[in-house]
């Protein structure tokens, strides 16, 4: 039983990692006032870029770089449309989602001829799990053994990066000049402008930070968790990350807890597949898949407390003509 529980937690960690990376990505963008519904598209683009390059070079690190490059490019496109040209941020984000979905499938088919998938990764093209020292030796120690060996040890490096990004993001937001300005520009860009800081450049930096983290998230899917890119492999994770961001009220630590919760639901869903629950029968997988959204809607309806977004989120900045 305890072993089962540890296994569920272990897969919770694995499943929440891409959510967490994307959620933190969205946090940078939205805290700066740029709503990013294109997390999904950026992740997908990054997953494809990482999968393709990792296959060709047989180097996971180059794959990760490529994923980041694709994701940042898409982010800059979003920035160009919504920051420089003050376009509607939702429309631009949706466009990026469509662009990524179509382009990855098309390029994948053209280049690799496997129905849009990238071929299975060669040796070295994938981030492998890292075993912590003595993991094997203490495996059989009760309680501590499974926790250490299964839960803490033997994840790939991107998992650790994702969870380290949480305190790092908190520190950047609340302890650095960049963070102060980032939070300010999402609340009142005019205050930032009159303080002599460029609103445009600040928001671009936020969008780039968002792109980098989305790059990690996408690469995780195709070259760490999976062994190659599959058509539409993000399967709505970008949207769940967005929901998690709202659920977490745009705060890093809450974002982590929310992503773990959503990841946990996912893990339970997989675990419950085909299993009878006494008295209820088989619970459809779709129920668990829908839970994150249901929870978010309940939150937004005000049952858990108000989620107040950054005040300037979604509004292009325009100097007033007084």
């Amino acid at each position: 039983m305890f072993e089962d529980f540890i296994l569920i937690l272990d897969s919770t960690v694995r499943l929440s990692t891409p959510l967490l990376l994307a959620c933190l990505a969205g946090l940078y963008s939205e805290r700066s006032g740029v709503v990013d519904i294109g997390l999904e598209g950026k992740m997908l683009g990054a997953a494809f870029g990482a999968g393709a390059v990792a296959y060709i070079t047989a180097n996971a690190w180059l794959g990760l770089m490529a994923g980041i490059a694709v994701s940042v490019s898409l982010g800059l496109l979003h920035g160009f449309a919504s920051i420089s040209n003050r376009g509607n941020q939702i429309v631009s984000g949706v466009a990026i989602n469509f662009l990524a979905a179509g382009l990855t499938a098309l390029l994948g088919q053209t280049w690799f001829r496997q129905g849009g998938r990238t071929p299975a990764l060669p040796e070295g093209g994938r981030f492998t799990d890292i075993a912590w020292p003595f993991a094997e030796q203490i495996r059989d120690v009760p309680v501590i053994g499974p926790i250490y060996t299964e839960l803490l040890s033997s994840h790939n490096i991107l998992v650790y990066a994702a969870f380290l990004a949480v305190p790092l993001t908190w520190w950047v937001l609340f302890r650095t000049r960049f963070g102060l300005r980032l939070r300010a520009v999402g609340e009142n860009p005019a205050a930032v402008d009159t303080a002599g800081i460029s609103v445009t450049w600040l928001r671009y930096r936020a969008v780039i930070a968002c792109g980098i983290l989305c790059g990690f998230a996408g690469a995780y899917l195709s070259i760490a968790q999976g062994a190659g890119f599959g058509v539409n492999m993000t399967a709505g994770k970008g949207f769940i990350a967005l929901a998690a961001l709202i659920f977490a009220k745009w705060r890093p630590a809450s974002a982590m807890l929310t992503c773990l919760l959503f990841g946990f639901l996912d893990a339970v869903a997989i675990r419950m597949q085909g299993q009878e629950v006494p008295g209820i029968g088989e619970i459809p997988v779709q129920f668990f898949q829908a839970l994150p959204y249901i929870l978010t809607v309940i939150l937004l309806a005000g049952f858990i407390g108000k989620a107040i977004p950054p005040k300037a989120a979604g509004i292009p900045y325009l100097k007033e003509r007084s």
Partner: protein
């Protein structure tokens, strides 16, 4: 510091002197000549927005260590000029000379570096940041925040001692009253070692007491050698606090004079370009039967606090009853209750031949309009207009159910527009274009749109809140005249205003509200001092029990 003395000396010598300084192209450094160098000199500044020439050949000399007022009607180009000085806009041509040096101000950062600070009309603060965070934003010292925040904390303490600018550095902006928020804006500028402080319509959002406090602060700043540029359209403020005043009219600088050598009337004339009646020309009222009687009205707000306490009064046909008081003493709630927006706890209202129990009535604003009571709300942006709607759409808001404006289920656009055009003409609303969004009208014209809509429905009773807030002099005069005409036509008007001048100029009877009660009633020619004391809750005349203490 002997700066005030030095100020009294040289006038109008700025121009040639500034030119020679410029040729030297060197800061004059220390020495005796310092106080003669103007803090700011603008030469032939021009700025156009498309076809609108917002600033035309502006020359301005601001002496160091003085409070320099810039007055003009809304849209005269004051804010544009100051935005150019603060690097927010760029002049099309012309020179800016700061401290004797010709400069280019590409952005706000450059302005700040030159010692220019600005307190904007709409505060540039981040609401969910602390005072401290707002102060350091953009002046953080280093990549990490801790150092900058600590320095700011110490510096705020020093500024607090030096200028009596007290504010809790850890308070969140959204928890502070506007007066304190403005203080944070001033602190922001001082923290960036501003020597020249620009204030754009600083008293628009302040209560009279807060405004007085602000003026004290400005005097302290001047006495410490800072230069203050005060932009306003309120003559009283100019007379009260400035040393020199420049008048702008339609994008041009029409005069710069010493404040002590001028008067409100002269300045008003310069602003408008013709002589203005500061007092309203009206004959004594001939009131008839009451058209509105309010008895024992009590209102409790959402926090459970009684904000209107047992208020009774009547308004007769053919009179203007003014309600004076410092804002926040229950006047707003009184207006909102009578107009059907807010529920009362108890009380009755007699209107249009009916007696309504306000404690139980569920009449809403539309029902009250049916009873021939019109309402010009205090805040036209929040309640009077939908600024993204066109003028003609706004001209029937609240009256859109009137059969005159509909054809079955559809709106009768032709009739609505025809009516809008007629109102535009009668109220001289400019620009005369009913298709324009109301956001594009100036404050005065927006207010005229609201007034036209309410008055032209010919109500028996008109409730008016702050009819001339943020409205320029020409429009004030027009609005006042229109209200008096309405009174002379035999209507009852209840006027709520925090501008004592307005109350005194218009009212036939004045009721003073303090702490939710009506604490006194005065006739048409009430003394200002007398009303002022009443507004502060002190009653001189009826001091029956007060005298015993």
């Amino acid at each position: 510091m002997s700066l005030p003395k030095a100020r009294a000396r040289s006038e109008e010598t700025g121009q040639p002197q500034g030119a020679t300084d410029n040729d030297k192209e060197q800061p004059s450094g220390l020495g005796e000549g310092m106080s003669d160098t103007p803090a700011i000199e603008l030469r032939k500044i021009n700025k156009s927005f498309g076809p609108v020439h917002a600033n035309r050949d502006i020359d301005l000399v601001v002496k160091k260590g003085s409070i320099h007022g810039i007055i003009g009607e809304n849209g005269a180009g004051k804010s544009t000029l100051m935005s150019i000085l603060y690097g927010f806009y760029h002049a099309d041509n012309g020179d800016i000379v700061v401290d004797g040096k010709k400069v280019v101000i590409p952005d706000s950062k450059a302005a700040i570096a030159m010692g220019i600070g600005m307190v904007h009309q709409h505060f540039m603060l981040v609401d969910n940041f602390s005072v401290l965070e707002n102060v350091v934003l953009g002046a953080e010292d280093s990549q990490l925040l801790a150092g900058g925040l600590n320095r700011a904390r110490a510096e705020l303490k020093r500024l607090e001692d030096e200028y009596e600018l007290r504010v809790d550095p850890d308070a969140l902006i959204e928890d502070l009253p506007v007066g304190l928020q403005q203080r944070v804006e001033i602190l922001k500028a001082l923290y960036r070692s501003a020597e020249i402080l620009i204030l754009d319509e600083p008293t628009g959002v302040l209560t009279p007491a807060e405004a007085d406090h602000l003026f004290k602060i400005l005097e302290v700043l001047r006495n410490e050698g800072k230069t203050v540029l005060l932009i306003t359209h309120k003559l009283r403020e100019i007379m009260a606090i400035t040393d020199t005043v420049s008048v702008m009219r339609r994008g041009e600088m029409v005069a710069t004079v010493e404040t002590k050598d001028t008067s409100m009337e002269k300045l008003a004339e310069l602003m408008v370009g013709r002589s203005v009646l500061l007092r309203v020309d009206k004959k004594p009222a001939e009131p008839e039967a009451p058209v509105m009687e309010v008895s024992n009205l009590t209102v409790t707000d959402s926090r459970g606090v009684q904000v209107v306490k047992d208020v009774s009064f009547s308004v007769r046909a053919g009179e203007i009853v003014g309600i004076a008081g410092v804002s926040g003493n229950g006047q707003s709630e009184l207006l909102e209750t009578l107009s059907g927006i807010r529920r009362a706890t108890s009380g009755t209202l007699k209107i249009h031949g009916e007696t309504i129990d306000l404690g139980t009535s569920t009449l809403n604003a539309a029902d009250m309009r049916e009873k021939s009571m019109a309402h010009v709300p205090e805040d036209r942006h929040r309640m009077g207009l939908i600024n993204s709607f066109t003028e003609y759409e706004n001209s029937i808001l609240g009256y859109h159910r009137d059969p005159a404006y509909s054809k079955g289920l559809l709106m009768d656009l032709a009739a609505i527009k025809k009516n809008a055009v007629a109102e535009i003409e009668r109220y001289d609303i400019r620009p005369p274009n009913p298709m324009l969004k109301t956001a594009n009208f100036s404050g005065g014209n927006q207010q005229k749109i609201v007034l036209a809509r309410e008055i032209e429905r010919d109500p028996e009773v008109l409730l008016v809140g702050q009819p001339t807030r943020g409205v320029d002099i020409g429009a004030i005069e027009f609005i006042h005249r229109r209200l008096v005409e309405m009174r002379d036509a035999g209507k009852g008007i209840l006027l709520v205003s925090v501008e004592l001048d307005e109350i005194r100029a218009l009212s036939d009877r004045v009721l003073v509200m303090f702490d939710g009660r009506i604490v006194g009633e005065r006739g048409a020619n009430a003394e200002e001092g007398d009303l002022g004391l009443l507004m502060a809750g002190v009653d001189n005349n009826n001091s029956v029990e007060g005298g015993v203490q």
